[in-house]
Subunit: 176 residues, 2 copies
C-alpha cells in the first residue's frame, strides 16, 4: 500500500460514543486523534441522536477518513438499555453511511484478540496496548481508547486479509 | 391555526419502516401520502441503515413536513431483535434531526388510544380507523397505516394541548 489509509474507529454508546482516528501505512498505526461525543442524559431522544449524528459527521468532515470501523455492541440483558444502545449505534452508522464511508464491524472479542492477543483481556489491558502501539505519551479516556482499538483492529485485520490474498490492496473493497 | 401543519409519521422497524404524511388544519386530518421503506434482510448493517436514513431524508425533501412523529418501539424480549430495532429507529430519527424537524414520540398505547379510543385495540382496528378518519378508498399496508396512525395521534394530541393552553399554536414548540 503506497498511500496511507485513514481509519475512523467508533465505539458507540447511548451516553458516550468514543472515537479514534489513525493512519495506516501497512506496518504500524499512527495516531491522528481521539475523543468522545457525550450526550446529555436528561435530553430527549432527538437531542441525543442529533449530538451523535452531527458529531460524527463533523469528525468525518474534519479528518476525512477513508474507512470506518464500528465496535459491535454488547447485547445487554436490559431491553431498555439495549434499545438505547441500538439507537446510538444506528445514528452513528447513519452519519458514516451519509458520508459514503465503507463501514466495517468488529466484535469486542475481535478487538481484544487483535489488540491484546486474547479475547478475555480487561479494559485496562486494551488501553495499555493502545498506548504502546501508538506510542502515546498519556493514556486516552476509556471510550476514546476503545475507538482507537477498533480502528487498530481494522488496520491489522485488513493487512492480514491482504496478505492472504497475496498482497492485494483492500482499500476500495470490503472485507466481509 | 390558519396554515395547515404537515406531519410525517414514522413506525420504525428493522425490516420495514412504515410512513404516513397528513395535513392538519385543526379539524380533521387530510391524507397526503403513505408507504414503506423496506430493507434487504441479507444486507449488511450499513446497507440497511443507509436505506432508512436516505429513504426518510428523501421523504422529507419531497413532502416537506413541518413536524415528525415517531412510534416508540415495543421493547422485545429478544435482545438481538431489540438492538436491530433500536438501530433502525436511531437511523430514522437521525434523518429527521438532520433536516431540523421537531420530533415527537408516542407509545403504541397512545396511538391506539388516540386513533381507536382504547389502548388494547387490535392492529386491524387501527387500520380500519385510519381508513375511516382519512376517508381512504382502500386499506393501506399495515406498516403504512401505523405511520399514518402516529401522524394522526400527533395531530389530535397537539390540538388537545393547544386547547388546554387556550388555543395557542404549537407549531414551533414541543409538547414535552
Amino acid at each position: 500500500m503506497s498511500k496511507p489509509i485513514r481509519i475512523l474507529g467508533i465505539d458507540p454508546g447511548s451516553r458516550i460514543t468514543g472515537f479514534g482516528v489513525i493512519d495506516w501505512h501497512g506496518r504500524e498505526p499512527v495516531y491522528v486523534a481521539s475523543g468522545c461525543i457525550k450526550t446529555l442524559p436528561n435530553d430527549e431522544l432527538a437531542g441525543r441522536i442529533g449530538m451523535i449524528v452531527r458529531g460524527i459527521g463533523d469528525l468525518v468532515a474534519e479528518y476525512r477518513p477513508n474507512q470506518a470501523a464500528v465496535e459491535q455492541v454488547f447485547v445487554n440483558v436490559n431491553p431498555a438499555a439495549t434499545l438505547m444502545l441500538g439507537q446510538a449505534r444506528g445514528a452513528a452508522v447513519a452519519a458514516l453511511v451519509l458520508r459514503d464511508l465503507p463501514v466495517y464491524e468488529y466484535t469486542a472479542l475481535q478487538v481484544k484478540q487483535s489488540v491484546v492477543g486474547q479475547g478475555k483481556a480487561a479494559k485496562e489491558q486494551v488501553q495499555h496496548m493502545v498506548v504502546q502501539m501508538l506510542g502515546l505519551s498519556g493514556t486516552p479516556q476509556a471510550d476514546a481508547a476503545d475507538g482507537l482499538a477498533v480502528a487498530i483492529t481494522h488496520a491489522l485485520r485488513s493487512q492480514g486479509l491482504a496478505r492472504q490474498l497475496g498482497g492485494l490492496s483492500i482499500k476500495n473493497g470490503r472485507l466481509r
